[in-house]
Amino acid sequence: MATERIVYVVDDDTAVRRSLGRLLYSADFECVAYESALAFLQAVPEISGGCVLLDVKMPEIDGLAMQGQLNHLGFRLPVVVITGHGDIPTAVQAMKAGAVDFIEKPFDDERLIAAIEAALADFGRGFADREAATEAAERIATLSPRERQVLDALVAGRPSKVIAYDLGISVRTVEVHRARMLERLGTRRLAEAIRLAVLADLAPDSARMAKADTAVGGNVRGASRRI
């Protein structure tokens, strides 16, 4: 069991790396830190369990490029990505590249620990798990067309103001749709909603389209294509 509680931290900032080590230690995780993507990639052959906590913004090889390399190597450990505050587009890219979750800097310890616990529990299931994807697609399909449009726009990284303008509604209304959308998806975190949206996209076409059609009609496909 002990080996499964290893967290591999990849971050170029010394202080952040060190503070993550302290925090993970305080939460009874074992932490191994790397100062660059390259250093981590070199260590990959010896790694067999645990999860990766990866900062996307790094010089030379950034987090996204490193994910690409990991996929190429057939690396199967779950990756949680750390992004800058409000950098949703990068988070979405990371999720599409296979990250199981993302957290925004600065984050609170509970959120970080929950994300790592979930990632460790996920190990072995694999991100592109068909069942998980189909389940995500089913949950996404329960959204109203407007809620789906708002989610799609959020996934595309648009701020509320822009979404309001694009949809011809007020910012306040966007916020209401956003809140209802999160409620319907059974989460209070945008990250979870985005994870579901990305996952749903990986669901087998037949499942996804059938669900989308019965739930909200043709609009959804038009909306999702705009992403």
Partner: protein, 413 residues
């Protein structure tokens, strides 16, 4: 047929028809001697029947057209008819009468031609109308030509204006890209972006250390509790690092000193406002400018001061977003001899006292997504120029931001 007509007592005689016709009906023998002259002939040509019957028809010939009648008579003699021939005859009083003439041979019972019947219609009036029309037409053509020339002139002026406008637009785009370029790659924008990232790193680390310390304390395990002071030191070190990062903000703007030169204040303001006011007319913002001619030139790093101006104007516009009255005023004033003051006044809700006192400190913002760096950077830029930036309530609602620059001698002084 003629018999059948005359058999009806109510049918007028041919002579009566001739008499009542509105057209002149004149009969002559083959020599041209007039034999019939109806009432309309009298009206048109002026002669009474007793004056002309037995006289040669040639007395009606207009000067210069004496040849016509013998030729017509000659044709009639040969059995030909003349239809609707437009010509001119002479009135008894000497004036000319325009007529349409139809001439037919008169045949005797045996069929031989014995004379000519002429039907003449007065077309003077029609001719006059035609002439008038022609004249009008010519006038019209003349006016069309004049108007065309006028339009061509206007067109040329318009094209000149368009060219001028395009030049102005190009200039604006240049300024725009210059300011944006500066924003993104050199000055405030990059500074703000870098700052935000670095501070985020620092805050992440500090938060982690503090949270770790709390958890270690709560664990109750001795070796964990013993690590707490060290972790707290690390947290404190991060917070100090944040202070140093903010301190860099101040020093960064003073670099521009060497770039300072004499600039036209009006031009700097106009270029900045063109940039800051894009799209604001549609939302009902009234912008007005009052330039003091004595405050036209100042020492400034143009790009930096334009960033201050754009920043202050955008702030003013955002402050007024929820106001019914949206008035932006930019004023320049020469204070004393050596200071140019630029004031940017808005009609927004004004600043709460709690915010107003900390306005130029970093990370104070009234905007939901504001970073709170715009005004501190403006402040530092103005300070580096040896000027002052301050805010005060605007009389009648809103806020005024004023900043000063060192005045440069006006040209020619």
């Amino acid at each position: 047929m003629a018999n059948s007509y005359s058999s009806h007592s109510f049918w007028p005689s041919p002579a009566a028809i001739v008499e009542s016709s509105n057209d002149a009906i004149i009969c002559t023998d083959l020599n041209g001697t007039i034999t019939t002259w109806n009432k309309a002939a009298q009206t048109i040509f002026g002669y009474r029947p007793e004056e002309v019957i037995g006289q040669p028809v040639f007395l009606l010939a207009a000067p210069g057209r004496e040849d016509e009648m013998p030729i017509i008579l000659d044709q009639i003699t040969r059995g030909q008819k003349i239809q609707h021939y437009e010509t001119v005859r002479r009135h008894k009083e000497g004036r000319q009468v325009a007529i349409s003439l139809t001439v037919s041979p008169i045949r005797a019972e045996g069929g031989q031609i014995v004379g000519a019947s002429k039907i003449a219609r007065d077309i003077t009036e029609r001719k006059e109308v035609e002439a008038e029309l022609r004249r009008l037409n010519e006038t019209l053509e003349q006016r069309v030509a004049e108007r065309t020339a006028e339009l061509e002139k206007v067109n040329r002026q318009l094209q000149a204006k368009i060219a001028e406008r395009e030049r102005a637009d190009r200039r604006l785009r240049d300024v725009q890209s210059e300011v944006f370029h500066a924003a993104r790659f050199s000055a405030v924008g990059q500074m703000a972006g870098t700052l935000a990232h670095e501070l985020n790193q620092v805050m992440t680390a500090a938060t982690n250390f503090v949270n770790a310390a709390r958890r270690l304390l709560a664990s109750g395990e001795r070796h964990k509790i013993e690590a707490v002071p060290e972790v707290m030191d690390e947290a404190a070190a991060e917070i100090l690092r944040a202070g140093r990062i903010i301190g860099r903000l101040r020093t960064f703007v003073s670099r521009g000193e060497a770039e300072r030169r004499v600039e036209n204040v009006v031009m700097m303001i106009e270029e900045s406002s063109a940039l800051a006011l894009i799209g604001t007319e549609e939302i009902g913002v009234r912008a007005s400018f009052r330039f003091d001619p004595k405050a036209e030139r100042a020492f400034a790093d143009r790009v930096q001061i334009q960033q201050v101006l754009v920043n202050l104007m955008r702030n003013a516009l955002e402050a007024m977003a929820g106001s019914r009255r949206r008035e932006l005023e930019v004023r320049t004033t020469l204070l004393g001899d050596q200071t140019v003051e630029i004031a940017i006044a808005d009609s927004g809700p004004g600043l709460a006292k709690s915010v107003a006192n900390h306005l130029f400190e970093p990370f104070v913002s009234t905007k939901p997504n504001g970073m709170g760096l715009g005004l501190p950077i403006c402040y530092s830029i103005v300070e580096a120029h040896g000027g002052q930036l301050k805010s005060e309530p605007n009389l009648g609602g809103g806020t005024v931001f004023r900043f000063t620059l060192a005045a440069a001698p006006t040209m020619g002084r």
